[in-house]
């Protein structure tokens, strides 16, 4: 009954039009970035650049110090990778023991993690800031990694528990019979089987950390560890109307995840739809 009919065709055309309009900001972004400063301001946003130029890109890459996009990208990379690795290791271990040893403790711990997902972390930010400051970790990579790992641990544990629940014990039992220790069993047998969950955790948490502005602004402003969003923010704040430069910086800051998304879009969409849902 759900066949392709005239109505479907109309719906299809309408949705393609909607998508076209929704994509206009992207067109404007890339189009303007390749104009020179003067043309970016004066010409129509939809008109193609008369003399495409990389002026904006070279200007935005020429910045140094805490305005340097490259330093910002490097800091973002260190903090994101460090946090995601910890979220995967610590989260999967915790989720595994919670599911494999059901009982009162397991129920309590699971509730602890689940409640923390709903609990907004904003209020805790001030004490975390003060705590990290007293440890001398404000404005450092380590401080940020600890904070993000803690902030996103409930999400990681939640995603892993959902997956471990569906995992049969046969492989683990076989490994036990072969005399493997529990940890060796986990490392060699269980963890590889958790692959799909690890993928979802990696995508969701790296995206959240890479794009996070509020906490990195609070914790990193003026430090050497400034992440990309903070760099873009302070960089743009100084430029008035140099839209080609601003847009070049915006493009450079979003390229990594845009490319990552285009190559792994199915996994991204599944991660968001399934991860959040389950």
């Amino acid at each position: 009954m759900f066949r392709y009919s005239k109505g479907t065709f109309v719906r299809e055309v309408a949705m393609l039009l909607v998508a076209l309009i929704m994509m206009l900001p992207f067109y404007i972004l890339f189009n303007t970035a390749f104009k020179n400063t003067e043309e970016a301001l004066s010409s129509s946003a939809l008109a193609l650049p008369t003399n495409p130029t990389l002026e904006g890109f070279s200007a935005s890459l020429a910045t140094t110090g805490s305005r340097s996009l490259i330093v910002g990208a490097l800091n973002s990379l260190i903090i994101t990778v460090g946090s995601v690795v910890l979220l995967i290791i610590i989260g999967s271990l915790a989720a595994f023991v919670i599911i494999r040893r059901p009982g009162k403790i397991s129920k309590t711990l699971l509730a602890l993690f689940l409640l923390a997902i709903i609990l907004p972390a904003q209020l805790g930010l001030i004490p975390v800031y003060i705590g990290l400051r007293s440890l001398g970790l404000v404005g450092t990579h380590i401080g940020m990694i600890i904070m993000y790992t803690g902030l996103l641990m409930p999400l990681s544990v939640f995603l892993y528990t959902g997956f471990v629940r569906t995992l049969p014990r046969d492989y683990e039992e076989a490994a036990q019979i072969d005399g493997a220790s529990p940890f060796a069993t986990f490392r060699k047998i269980v963890f590889p089987l958790l692959g799909p969950a690890t993928g979802t955790v990696a995508i969701l948490t790296s995206l959240i950390i890479w794009n996070d502005f509020f906490t990195s602004l609070v914790f990193l402003s003026g430090s050497d560890a400034v992440t990309l969003p903070v760099v873009v923010y302070s960089f743009v704040g100084e430029l008035v109307s140099k839209w080609n430069v601003i847009f070049a910086a915006v493009i450079l800051s979003m390229i990594p995840f845009l490319v990552f998304y285009l190559f792994a879009q199915k996994k991204f969409i599944q991660g968001f739809a399934g991860g959040i849902k389950s």
Binding site: I89, L93, I105, P120, P182, F213, Y261, K277
Partner: protein, 317 residues
């Protein structure tokens, strides 16, 4: 830490009960301890307690003090809250936050659901459209806001477009007019997030059995009737998830406001989060900032629980 914790598991289990180690033999060994040790959960639990629970508890205490971020502080009772609700910039921010969160909730879920229904099943380009419409979700809200800042300029693309289709009267100073600025910010937020709700609803729609819809159609149910009596009930848990997610995002909105207007013009677009940022980390009024945070936290908790209760409750109809 994991190497030491790995040992604690097997010790009690691999040794036959009662031999060596001097430990009391366990009569009924918990067979599950062969698989994992509780020590494995310690790092995760410690982090969650420190960064979530202890921090939120400490934050709630600061909310009742005049803490400046350094040195000592004294308790000031409800002074901070009295100041928030007395009608100044913070009160304005609170109202703005509620307006933004509510409109964001309705618009993003409504449009996202509409897109999902339109894309579901029959469209040939549905996979392509899904990828395209979801793309803004993976971008940083900050970066997205700068694109729109350009679009919203006085002589920018949006006003230019309105003029070209003869709607000069619709032209606005999108970010400079206190009457319009919230709409502009909402436009950016909705644009970036409809792809997210759409994808969540598409996943929910996949649970609607096709033959159930066909049966309803054979019974003479029209499109709308089929939607309300077949699709919607099955979709209810999905609606809870999507709307809670969006509502919480709306109540915490910061990036877009900070990038588009910085809270201006004249505080017309301040939100709780921008106020928390300014009061705490710019003005150094930690106690007051914590009180604002507490208001936001309570709002988020109350609304999230209310929403779950509301939509769950309706199930019994």
């Amino acid at each position: 830490m994991s190497t030491t914790s790995a040992k604690t598991g097997p010790v009690s289990e691999t040794e036959p009960a009662g031999t060596g180690s001097g430990r009391p033999a366990r009569r009924l060994p918990n067979r599950d301890s062969r698989y994992a040790s509780w020590w494995w959960a310690v790092p995760a639990v410690a982090l969650v307690i420190a960064i979530h629970y202890a921090a939120i508890a400490a934050g709630s205490i600061y909310a009742f003090t005049d803490y400046k971020g350094l040195g000592s502080f004294k308790f000031v009772g409800l002074d901070n809250f009295a100041k928030i609700f007395s009608g100044g910039a913070s009160m304005k921010a609170l109202i703005n936050t509620l307006i933004i969160a509510f409109v964001f909730l309705i618009a993003t879920n409504g449009i996202g659901l509409a897109f999902a229904l339109a894309l579901n099943r029959t469209l040939r380009s549905r996979h392509f459209l899904r990828v395209i419409l979801f793309a803004p979700v993976v971008l940083s809200p900050l970066a997205v806001s700068y694109i729109w800042k350009f679009i919203f300029q006085q002589k920018g693309p949006l006003n230019e477009f309105l003029a070209s289709i003869g709607l000069e009267s619709w032209q606005q100073t999108w970010l400079g007019d206190p009457q319009v600025v919230l709409i502009s910010i909402l436009l950016v937020m909705v644009w970036q997030n409809v792809g997210l709700t759409m994808v969540i609803y598409l996943a929910g729609l996949a649970n609607v059995p096709e033959d159930l819809e066909e049966a309803a159609a054979l019974d003479g149910a029209g499109v709308w009737k089929r939607f309300t009596s077949v699709t919607l009930p099955i979709l209810r848990p999905t609606i809870v998830v999507a709307s809670t997610l969006i509502l919480v995002q709306g109540l915490r909105v910061f990036d877009q406001v900070q990038a588009l207007t910085g809270g201006g013009p004249y505080g017309a677009s301040e939100t709780l989060a921008t106020q928390v940022y300014k009061e705490t980390f710019v003005n150094g009024r930690y106690g007051y900032g914590a009180a604002l945070s507490l208001v936001m936290t309570v709002l988020i908790l109350v609304f999230a629980l209310l929403q779950m209760g509301l939509l769950r409750g309706k199930k019994d109809d």
